[in-house]
């Protein structure tokens, strides 16, 4: 039936315009189902073969006052027949479900872009709530002349589509997001099968909701098809991504899968201790679903219990993992020092958000780098690695477990709100593609006196789990005597131990890949040096700059502590080094002090990611000097 509809629709096409890439921003009240609409369009586009990148942007309040700007939820999707690195700077299409959504987002719409407005959200009440004080609708005062305005009374059409339904009006109205989705599917010539299957599964317990959502989805599609107003449809062909099998993945989900994969490849169960916090909680939700992988999830009473329980589990031979965001990471500081002192595997994930203090819980920032590298009492070095995109989270989680286990150390993963909830296609590996992880477990006494802090050639002590006869020993947070691990207050010994612990971490540089140049030449006039979630925006900017003839290169770091061994030499190949970061200049401080290079910061601290246009503008300034 639906296929017939689609064929009919195709027959009615008046014109079809091909586009390379499109950015759509869905915006509405936080109860309007915006995130769901956006993620459905994303999944459908990804399955169709487009490259995609998404950016959900929602308020901290679960139900902020309806109709107000504070309550606006947004979901930005960039999809294309070319490679896509960011969710897009400016959008081609802005969908607004009410006046507040328009007011909050109009500046993100390109001049000449398409504005789809739900007229029902522009009544006097909504206009006033959104701050259009005089009650004059922007849809009617000719202020939107720079855009292609499509007005649809979504609420009315949704109710009409459900005329025969026995649902109440309130319940009917809840499916109006499906009308918009159906209309956009028509506009971009998309099949609806993925969303139809999703609806059937989501509402499996209430058949009347399956019927109503499917009916409204179809009504939206047919509205585009039958209404005379819309003369053009668009086509965005599949992207030439590398050959392979793909799926869609979000950052937090990829972290969870990376941990489970590392668990399999090391033969050790994951223990995940965590206290709910935005934007890290989804890792807990994802892991809790996979108990059949022997994943042990523990929702602790607080952040400190979350990390210390993970330390206890590591002592017991599990891979202890904990995750949080800035405020929670601050609480974990003392326990991080303990893990350092014990020399025990531990993975700590910081899904960064705007700070300081409670800061901007749902907004992104990279301001916890120095906290991760230096933020402990005493000299307590911890390896720090950062993920650059949602799919990269998988590799980073796997790598973090490898380092933690094989080098007997806590390891920091830095992600952020932008990556955590963003999605992109992922050429997923098979389990055979993943290397094995080798824990330095000692499983029996060898007859000699057991020395729990005797090191191997990497500077790593053995991992001895309680339960093994003859290897009974005590560990703790007090300074310990070299090799024996007994308490020692000897001054010479303390200096030795501080150095041994630092050397162990520095030597990890021998076991990580050399740094490569992501874009551009090994020698050029200007280097963009970056880490974390800014990768996509900087890569796009750099590609365009190189295309435009600028002598620019891009190096993106995964390993921040220790740095890759060749980084210092690489940096010498460039006239200028600029370091764009979503903070006031943190990596730049580290690079300047480590390599004596005149690196300069490019800072943005607005709770929002860089646009590639912003990066380009900064670079071009250097060429105008």
């Amino acid at each position: 039936m639906k296929d017939n509809n689609l064929t009919d629709a195709a027959n009615h096409v008046r014109s079809m315009e091909e586009l390379k890439d499109v950015t759509i921003l869905f915006a509405g009240d936080s109860g309007d189902g915006i995130q769901l609409t956006g993620s459905q369009f994303s999944n459908t586009s990804a399955l169709f073969g487009n490259d995609i990148s998404t950016f959900p942007n929602y308020p901290a309040e679960i139900r902020a006052p309806q109709g107000t700007i504070a309550g606006v939820s947004g979901f930005q999707l960039h999809f294309g027949s070319v490679e896509i690195y960011t969710p897009g700077d400016q959008c081609d299409v802005l969908v607004v479900m009410n006046s507040a959504a328009l007011k909050a987002n109009l500046d993100k719409l390109k001049i000449g872009g398409t504005l789809i407005a739900n007229t029902d959200g522009f009544d006097i009440k909504n206009l006033k709530l959104a701050g259009y004080i005089d009650g004059v609708s922007p849809l009617e005062d000719n202020s939107l002349g720079k855009y292609r305005l499509i007005e649809i009374d979504v609420t009315k059409l949704t109710r009409e589509a459900l005329k025969t339904s026995t649902l109440g009006t309130k319940e009917k109205d809840r499916s109006k997001n499906m009308f918009v989705l159906g209309f956009l599917y028509w506009m971009y010539n998309r099949k609806m099968a993925t969303t139809e299957a999703f609806i059937r599964e989501k509402f499996i317990k209430s058949p009347e909701l399956i019927d109503s959502n499917l009916a409204v989805l179809k009504a939206g599609f047919n509205f585009g098809d039958t209404s005379e107003t819309f003369t053009t449809r668009f086509e965005v062909k599949p992207a030439p991504l590398p050959k392979g099998k793909y799926r869609n993945i979000m950052g937090n989900q990829a972290l969870a899968l990376g941990l489970i994969a590392a668990s399999r490849k090391s033969g050790l169960p994951i223990f995940y201790g965590s206290y709910p916090i935005t934007p890290a909680s989804d890792i807990l939700h994802e892991l809790a679903r996979h108990k059949n992988f022997d994943v042990r999830t523990f929702q602790a009473e607080d952040e400190i219990a979350a990390i210390t329980a993970a330390i206890g589990a590591s002592f017991g031979g599990n891979i202890g993992v904990t995750a949080s965001s800035g405020p929670g990471i601050a609480l974990k500081g003392e326990a991080l020092g303990l893990a350092c002192m014990l020399e025990i595997p531990l993975v700590v994930i910081n899904v960064q958000r705007g700070g300081p203090s409670t800061g901007l819980p749902t907004k992104t920032e990279q301001a916890d780098l120095l906290q991760a590298v230096y933020g402990r009492n005493g000299e307590a070095p911890i390896p720090v690695i950062a993920s650059s995109s949602p799919r990269d989270c998988f590799q980073v989680a796997f790598e973090a477990v490898r380092i933690a286990v094989e080098h007997m150390t806590p390891v920091f993963i830095l992600s952020d709100g932008y990556i955590a909830n963003g999605a992109e296609p992922w050429r997923y590996p098979s389990s055979d593609d993943l290397s094995s992880i080798h824990p330095p477990l000692l499983d029996k006494a060898d007859g000699d006196t057991f020395l729990p802090y005797k090191r191997d050639e990497k500077g790593v002590r053995p991992w001895v789990v309680p339960g093994i006869a003859g290897l009974e020993h005590r560990i703790g947070g007090l300074e310990k005597q070299d090799e024996t691990g007994n308490i020692s207050y000897d001054p010479e010994n303390h200096q030795t131990m501080v150095k041994l612990r630092a050397d162990k971490i520095n030597r990890i540089a021998d076991f990580i890949p050399l740094q490569t140049v992501d874009q551009g030449e090994m020698h050029s006039k200007l280097l963009l040096l970056s880490w974390g979630s800014t990768y996509g925006a900087i890569k796009s900017a750099c590609k365009e700059l190189i295309f435009e003839g600028y002598s620019v290169s891009h190096i993106h770091l995964r390993h921040i502590h220790p740095f890759p061994k060749n980084l210092g030499d690489l940096l010498k190949g460039f006239g200028h080094v600029i370091v764009p970061e979503l903070n006031s200049g943190q990596l730049v401080k580290m690079v300047r002090s480590e390599f004596l290079v005149n690196a300069q910061p490019v800072s943005k601290v607005k709770g929002l990611p860089f646009s590639s246009a912003e990066i380009k503008a900064e670079v071009i300034k250097y060429f105008q000097l």
Binding site: K245, N292, T308, A313, A335, Y428, L471, R474
Partner: protein
């Protein structure tokens, strides 16, 4: 887990080669000795036992036992022990903590450990003072206590640790003292036998910063009137020549003179450790002791014991159930997910 080899162990086998560094005369010595005495009797091998402590004088404990151990950070031993128990439920875990460690900086972890009911033992050394930091008042110090940090006397109302444990739905709650080795050993053994989190408060004398804090309960002259040792199924009797008892007048404990002839042992409160309500009354007997016998005596013994599901067991049952329903995790299927496409 017990076997003949384990039964052949002696207290010496549980003594580590580390020099014990508590102040001479500290109550901790007695507790260490009683623990080393009962360990060979409970039938576990050394490698099956883990002592986890926080920070404070008592928290040096693990170093002195030749078992596995961790001397961790202030207040966090219950959380570390929880993670360890999940990692390996077969281990016998003993949390060693003090009044500051367990009730002040680590209060949150203690109450959550108790409500979750992991199978482990918590020995709370209560000396009503901060010893390691040289003598500040603790959350169990009595009101008016003059210390370095309270030169005009403490204005804090102290915790009643056992009432707190009961409020957190602890499943085994007991009190004993360093000066009564036999009682201490008996309580420790019963705590170890309990399947669930066993909280044992041990009155422990700090002879340097709070000497004699519990003397009124241990000194021969005052002890009969101030301390009562309760036993399951027996009437609650105390006083010189067992001349007094506790009787329940409604829900009110009343000191009853058995010598007068008006009341006999049959009229007394029979201790039932399985009775949540009566156990709560017993734990609430927390009067400031008066040697003349006009205050309610401080009870010692096992007040409450309840059988309840164990956290670690339930967690592993869910894992087993998930494997039964979904099959052991297939990594390739997980990586693939539900919706995939191929680019050729």
């Amino acid at each position: 887990m017990s076997n003949t080899a384990a039964l052949a162990l002696t207290s010496k086998d549980f003594t580590s080669n580390q020099e014990v560094r508590w102040c001479p005369g500290c109550g901790d010595y007695s507790i260490l000795k009683q623990v080393q005495t009962i360990l060979p009797e409970i039938g576990l091998r050394r490698e099956e036992i883990v002592f986890i402590s926080g920070i404070g004088c008592s928290s040096r404990f693990p170093y002195y036992l030749n078992t596995y151990g961790m001397h961790s950070i202030h207040g966090r031993a219950p959380a570390i022990a929880s993670g360890l128990k999940i990692a390996n439920p077969a281990l016998s875990i003993w949390v060693i903590t003090g009044d500051g460690d367990a009730l002040s900086i680590g209060g949150n972890h203690l109450i959550h450990l108790l409500r979750r009911n992991f199978d482990m033992n918590v020995l709370l050394f209560n000396n009503e003072i901060y010893g390691l930091t040289k003598g500040q008042y603790s959350p169990t110090s009595p009101e008016g206590k003059v210390t370095k940090s309270t030169p005009m006397g403490s204005i804090d109302h102290p915790f009643n640790p056992l009432a707190l444990a009961a409020g957190a739905n602890g499943t085994f709650i007991a009190r004993t003292m360093d000066r009564d080795p036999k009682h201490l050993r008996d309580v420790l053994k019963e705590a170890n036998d309990h399947k669930g989190t066993s909280l044992v408060e041990i009155y422990q004398n700090c002879n340097i910063f709070n000497d004699g804090a519990f003397e009124v309960f241990t000194d021969k002259s005052s002890k009969p009137n101030t301390a009562v040792f309760v036993e399951h199924g027996k009437p609650i009797i105390f006083g010189e020549n067992n001349s007094k008892g506790l009787r329940l007048d409604g829900a009110l404990p009343v000191i009853t003179d058995l010598a007068s002839g008006s009341f006999g042992p049959d009229d007394l409160w029979i201790h039932d450790k399985h009775d949540r309500f009566k156990a709560n009354l017993l734990m609430r007997c927390f009067d400031t002791p008066k040697p003349d016998g006009s205050s309610l005596p401080r009870p010692f013994g096992v007040f409450y014991k309840e059988s309840k599901s164990l956290y670690e067991q339930s967690l592993h049952e869910q894992i087993a159930d998930s494997i039964k329903r979904k099959g052991a995790g297939d990594l390739d299927a997980l990586l693939k997910g539900k919706n995939t496409w191929e680019i050729l």
